[in-house]
């Protein structure tokens, strides 16, 4: 997790764009895809996103390594939609309770592509954006309260530590005779105990970190920023790109006649 969040080796063009511009672009694309269930808008957006891969320093290999749970989830979602949705059109396959028709297959593939098209921009953003830079942009450009933004950023660093702590506490408890074997009840009891141990450690760590931050003058009304979050011409292109992908998805679906809002019943 920590490794996935570091970008030290990434020199791609999009790493130099302002995180806020990237964030807005991703938001636009996601918004459009959330509005309609159809195959055309999803595949248009997906094609546009795939074209951005090299600009974000992402390869298909890296994508699979980092995003495989999302990709498998999208595929499973598509599969279950295909076999469970009401049949319409020619039946392609009928094995017992599983029946796949043209209509359900279309819906299933549309569901899968949409899932991917929504997940990909977030992966793109993560792979070319440093959390510290994102926090700088949110506080300086979006004018979110700096106490909240920096507090979250510092807490995020502790999350990685907590993952290590969880492992250590698990071992320490095994050394006391609390195993992860046994009946489901015993297991959930052991899990609860381990969670409590982690919670105690998390609170201790968090309060010590809070003292550290306060002792360094954090919490005042004003502060200066060592790193200025700036916009450049690149950010205009980033916004335009996001807008273009979103608009292309809508227009393509309108042109193909497949666009329909999620909250309208099918067939309207």
């Amino acid at each position: 997790m920590r490794e996935a969040l570091t970008l030290r080796a990434n020199n791609a063009l999009l790493t130099r764009a302002n995180p806020l511009a990237k964030f807005v672009s991703v938001f636009l694309i996601t918004l459009v895809l959330a509005l309609s269930i159809d195959l055309v808008s999803a595949s248009t957006a997906l094609l546009g996103e795939l074209a951005l891969f090299p600009l974000a320093g992402l390869t298909v290999r890296l994508l699979w390594q980092r995003g495989w749970p999302l990709i498998i989830a999208a595929a499973l979602g598509g599969w279950s939609t295909t076999i469970l949705s009401a049949s319409s059109g020619r039946v392609l396959l009928d094995v017992g309770i599983w029946s796949i028709s043209e209509g359900s297959l279309q819906l299933g593939v549309g569901f899968m592509l949409r899932g991917l098209a929504i997940a990909l921009p977030a992966l793109l953003l993560m792979s070319c954006t440093d959390p510290t830079d994102l926090a700088d942009a949110l506080a300086q450009k979006a004018k979110l309260p700096h106490r909240f933004v920096l507090g979250t950023l510092a807490a995020l660093r502790l999350v990685g530590l907590m993952a290590e702590e969880w492992q250590t506490i698990g071992m320490a408890r095994r050394a006391r005779g609390v195993g992860s074997q046994g009946t489901p009840r015993q297991r959930s009891k052991a899990m609860l105990g381990q969670s409590f141990g982690l919670l105690v450690q998390a609170i201790r760590r968090a309060s010590r970190l809070a003292v550290t931050m306060e002792a360094r003058g954090f919490g005042g009304g004003r502060r200066t920023w060592a790193r200025e979050s700036t916009y450049s011409r690149l950010d205009v292109w980033v916004l335009a790109g996001g807008l273009l992908i979103a608009a292309a998805a809508v227009l393509a679906a309108q042109w193909a006649g497949t666009w329909h809002f999620v909250w309208l019943k099918q067939g309207n």
Partner: protein, 531 residues
């Protein structure tokens, strides 16, 4: 908020004045510190000593202005002023470093973390970066002579000593007149201790700032300070000023000469004093005759790592081992000491040996005398099979607490095993925990927690005892008790495997030493390059 000096580069050393000062934390019946009268001149360097419970940390927090407000059930008496003003009213006048290196780092990039304090004090941007470069140079984290670290170096890849030096740089960038160190080296290995001590010395020589440091290990700081103040626990909250907080005050040599016996009794590590311990005896001590030795546990060509195999899509990638090719043997009644610098994988090896981590490759094999029908791979044993065979004491006692009462904590193992409850009373008495049976384990002092964690593991009567840095941060009294107790166990036939930096400790236990050197790869190479 920023004073008129916010942009100035000169450090103005701070003066401290306490008059009848006392503080009671909210929810506590008595004061943490009571009737403190103390004046510290600008530029003085003071080492604060005293038994735990004397309020040393409370005083440092108050001077840093982070003690919270009076009111919400906390009480303040008398006055405590820095340069004649309340510490809370002047952020950035004092810089505070605490014990746990992990919580001294705020941001994930080296340069950003140093800049954090200066940003909060509204220092202009150009000035901030000037200070960042200077501070990193001063603490030796950006040595230009090769191996320097970049400003975007990830802070998570630093060693404990480097993290504490980074914290010092963050403090220096605020240009404080007062530097407060709360056991800054308690969690560090000997090399890290010297690293931090020397960096502090250099920075004080340069800036002339006032220093107040709390530490048990006097010899580390003795030559750097020009005054030692010994505090004692206050009496009560109601009676005013019966026992003053300051017991002794003066130049280091005088105080150490005057109070030597008292400090030793209080568990302070006085220079040139090694606490008396019970010597090893019996045939198993030292390198006894080979024919009598019973092998309990052995490793063969073992490679170890804390990471689990990772899934990358459909592939499973085994972790990169931190150490490989390890062969070791553990005999009944013999000590095995694992030594080596930080990052060499000592703890990882010990935890794998103890059946808590899966080997990356190679084997850990328990002899029949130890396994007793449970199979020869300790990692495959059930938790309850494990505790009656190999007991492991972790570095952080709190990680091992599973109940809310000292007595339950000790009874936990025997109860689950169905035998050995009779041993608990003996352990309670032997490790001086008898008066604490009803207490909550989390509320004990550091030394009590350590003794309890050893007792709980021994209650299950394991034949092999594995300890990870058992003497870290311990006062001299707990140290001596622990060493004597373990030497007794050894003579009784238990084998003791310990990961330690502590030479005195390993010489009390005797036996064999296994030294691990860091495999030069990845993170370790970074550390070696920066050192």
């Amino acid at each position: 908020m920023p004073g008129p000096e916010a942009g100035a580069t000169e450090v103005r050393p701070a003066a401290i004045s306490a008059q009848g000062w006392g503080w009671r934390h909210s929810g506590r019946a008595s004061q943490a510190i009571h009737a403190l009268d103390l004046n510290i001149r600008p530029g003085e360097r003071v080492l604060l000593l005293g038994p735990s419970g004397a309020g040393k940390s409370t005083l440092l927090h108050a001077l840093a202005g982070v003690l919270g407000e009076e009111g919400d059930d906390a009480d303040e008496t008398g006055s405590l002023l820095v340069d004649g003003i309340s510490p809370r009213a002047q952020r950035g006048r004092a810089g505070l470093m605490q014990q746990d290196p992990e919580t001294q780092v705020v941001l994930s990039r080296l340069g950003d973390d140093v800049a954090f304090g200066a940003e909060n004090l509204c220092v202009p941007r150009d000035e901030i970066w000037k200070r960042v470069h200077e501070a990193l140079d001063d603490v030796g984290l950006r040595s230009t002579a090769g191996g320097g670290l970049a400003l975007d170096h990830p802070t998570s890849a630093l060693s404990g000593g480097q993290k504490q030096r980074l914290a010092l740089a963050g403090i220096l960038a605020m240009r404080p007149g007062l530097i407060l160190l709360d056991e800054p080296t308690a969690n560090l290995d000997p090399a890290g201790v010297l690293e931090v001590r020397d960096a502090v010395g250099r920075c004080l020589d340069k800036t002339g700032a006032t220093l107040v440091v709390v530490e048990h290990r006097v010899s580390v700081w003795k030559d750097l300070v020009d005054r030692i103040v010994v505090l004692q626990p206050g009496s009560s909250s109601s009676t005013g000023g019966s026992t003053p907080a300051v017991l002794l005050d003066g130049d280091p040599d005088t105080v150490l000469a005057q109070a030597r016996d008292m400090l030793i009794r209080a568990g302070v590590w006085v220079p040139g004093y090694v606490p008396a311990t019970r010597p090893r005896s019996g045939p198993a001590g030292g390198s006894g005759p080979a024919r009598r030795r019973e092998l309990l546990l052995a490793t063969h060509d073992l490679a170890v790592s804390r990471d689990r195999p990772r899934r990358r899509g459909f592939k499973t990638i085994p972790p990169v081992p931190v150490q490989a090719g390890l062969d070791a043997e553990v005999f009944a009644g013999q000590a095995l000491t694992i030594t080596g610098p930080n990052g060499a994988g000592k703890s990882t090896f010990a935890l794998t040996l103890a059946g808590l981590l899966a080997p990356v490759s190679g084997t850990v094999t328990a002899a029949v005398g130890l396994s007793d029908g449970a199979g020869d791979d300790p990692f495959k044993w059930k938790a309850q099979q494990l505790i009656s065979r190999i007991g492991t004491v972790f570095q952080e006692p709190e990680h091992q607490f599973v109940t809310g009462r000292v007595l339950d904590e000790l009874m936990f193992g025997p109860k689950h095993l169905g035998h050995g409850e009779d041993r608990v009373d003996e352990l309670l008495e032997r490790l001086r925990l008898g008066h604490l049976v009803e207490a909550n384990p989390y509320t004990l002092s550091g030394g009590e927690k350590r003794r309890l964690s050893v007792a709980t593991v021994l209650a299950a009567h394991p034949r092999v005892l594995v300890l990870d840095e058992p003497t870290f941060g311990q006062d001299a009294n707990t140290w001596a008790e622990l060493a004597s107790f373990l030497s007794e166990l050894l003579d009784a036939g238990t084998s003791v495997v310990s990961v330690t930096h502590d030479r005195e400790f390993s010489s009390v236990l005797g036996g064999t030493e296994m030294r691990l050197e860091p495999a030069l790869q990845g993170r370790d190479r970074l550390e070696a390059g920066a050192a």
